[in-house]
């Protein structure tokens, strides 16, 4: 390494060290014991009907954040499609996969989908949520593409229908948040009755939003993975 770059490395390490020390000292200098936590602690179950209070926050109080976040994901999928789209290779050289991988992948695929459905629909009473559900289902479909080969999967899940599903889910999500406006209520306020906490159909519109997000993240992740596989060949 030339002298210049060794000096540069030293400078980087020293300045990062200072930043880390500075942040730690300043943060731990006076940490209040009873931090004035947000007022979500007690009333969120009654107001949102969701016993999983995290779902209550990001799908009811702060639904606007989740909406913008799903948009970020949608823009990412558009970007991957745009930059990888032109380089697709017609024939995908399938690798001689050992039989063990094929059967185990085929076996795990339905399990992953089942877990995805569970997490998506019961996000308001048990830990789960749309993002995790979509991701689990997408990795399940990736497993299936390993087992059966991408062409087999593409015949059933054609790209255009997947894209239509993704845009449809996002559109319904956007319109649902605007729906209360014509009814005279503030935007993003609750649509469905809350139901009794802990029941399957509780939490007002939260299960609906959760399912929409799961559908959107599943379609989006699969489109990203599909573009990568089309462009780079099988795993």
């Amino acid at each position: 390494m030339s002298r210049g770059s060794r000096l540069f490395h030293l400078l980087v390490i020293v300045s990062t060290g200072c930043v880390v020390l500075l942040v730690l000292l300043a943060f731990h200098s006076e940490t209040p014991e009873t931090a004035p936590y947000g007022t979500y602690v007690d009333r969120s179950v009654e107001e949102t009907g969701a016993t999983n209070r995290v779902a209550g926050v990001y799908l009811n109080y702060r639904l606007y954040d989740s909406l913008l976040e799903v948009l970020v994901f949608f823009v990412a999928v558009l970007g991957v499609r745009h930059y990888l789209g032109t380089r697709e290779r017609a024939e995908i050289p399938t690798l001689a996969e050992s039989e063990v991988v094929r059967t185990s992948a085929a076996l795990l695929f339905p399990l992953a989908l089942l877990l995805g459905v569970y997490l998506a629909t019961l996000g308001q009473i048990s830990p789960g949520g749309g993002f995790g559900a979509g991701a689990v289902a997408a990795s399940g479909v990736l497993l299936a593409s390993i087992a059966l080969g991408i062409d087999a999967i593409e015949r059933r899940l054609r790209r255009t229908t997947i894209e239509r599903i993704e845009r449809g889910a996002l559109l319904v999500f956007l319109l649902l948040t605007l729906l209360p406006l014509p009814l005279g209520r503030p935007a993003m306020s609750d649509l469905l009755p809350k139901g009794s906490p802990g029941a399957v159909l509780s939490g007002g519109a939260i299960p609906l939003y959760n399912t929409l997000i799961a559908l959107k993240v599943l379609a989006g992740s699969w489109l990203i993975l599909r573009s990568f596989v089309r462009h780079r060949g099988e795993i």
Partner: protein
């Protein structure tokens, strides 16, 4: 304590971005830096002997604060989106410049700009 671990991870990530020359390793380091900041955000939501914030009647015990956890869900998915896009860009760069060394690519880009004028 977890907050400190998050800050240390951020530091490691930034050092690796500045030092390692390979673009793929830089992106891994970027993922690490973002994970560090996310760990900080989750860490402040936790409290001594807290419980998981899922409860039908939430009076009797101390619960972890659900808000940071809700914020972090979005942050994780945003980082996934950014990494996926950055990787696609690195793949395009490798196809054109045949190298993933950021210094070499920078040199080639500057030379192309000097020669090619503007468009």
């Amino acid at each position: 304590m977890a907050f400190s671990a998050g800050i240390v991870l951020l530091g490691i990530g930034l050092v690796a971005i500045a030092i390692r020359r390979d673009l793929v390793i830089k992106l891994l380091a970027l993922g690490l830096a973002n994970a560090g900041s996310i760990l900080c955000l989750v860490a402040i939501g936790d409290r001594p002997e807290a419980r998981v914030p899922i409860c039908a009647v939430c009076r009797d015990a101390v619960y972890a604060d659900p808000l940071p956890q809700a914020l972090v869900l979005s942050a994780i998915v945003i980082n996934f989106a950014i990494l996926a896009l950055a990787l696609v860009f690195v793949m395009r760069l490798v196809e054109h410049y045949h190298s993933t060394d950021s210094r070499r690519i920078e040199g080639l880009v500057q030379r192309d700009l000097r020669e090619g004028g503007r468009s």
